[in-house]
Amino acid sequence: MEILEWTTQVRKGLLKFCIMTIIRQQPRYGYEIVQLLQQSDTLAITEGTLYPLLHRLVKEQFIDSYWQESESGPPRKYYTLTDSGHIFLEEMSTEWNKISSAVSLLQQNKGEVQ
């Protein structure tokens, strides 16, 4: 059970980062993001988690949304990165790279950073 809780915590912290990475290249709608995250089991989240989070990111002005008609069904709400979203994503990327390389270095060197 502890590993589950730990994984949830880590994933939670990275979710914003993952979502913003997904919509950096092109606009995506909610269910698309869910599916893209589902491609890797570890990052999978439910719709019930994603939609409120997207709403929050819009509030924080990191992402923007617009409605677009769809040929196959009801209109979809697409999300894109804003300028401040791009900046924030860059910052997160840098930090994440630092963290992950420090952690793998730590693992390789059996507990010593150098």
Partner: protein
Amino acid sequence: MGPKSVAYLEQFERKLEKFSEDERKDVVQEIRGHIEERLLQGQLEVTILANLGDPKKLAKAYTGDYYLHRSKPSVLQMFSIGSYYVGSSILSMMVIPLLFTVALGFLFCAIIAIPLGVLDTLFEFSWIEIGSSVLPRSLYIPVTVLISLASYIIYYLSKKALKAYLKFLSFTHRRVTS
């Protein structure tokens, strides 16, 4: 869309009362569109709704941090929220324990005063002191009844004050944060 989805969306929308009309419509439209499109793709209604989770919880996830994210809060708003928490917690640190202790203490007095008066009248215990130097023994019971009554009134008033204070807190909390 089946009746389950309709009920789901109704419940969801009802819990978004904090949002402005436009925002609520936008949010509900996105979820409705999601359900419709998944149904068109042949997914089961129960699965779709299960993935969205309990409608109340979903709404809560939207509104949970509502007051901080409603818009970018101005410095003044942040300041007023901050000073509210500092002020109210310092005040509460004094007011709540004081009222609580007073209420509890006087409730205790109200309960034990009369039995003590009766005991003292019957046996004149040395460890019970109801003004035996000034009062005749026959007055012990009436006096303790009065004491008990007075204690009960004090208990009642302090309990009311505590309730009123807590009400005041939640009222001002709502006012400051919404």
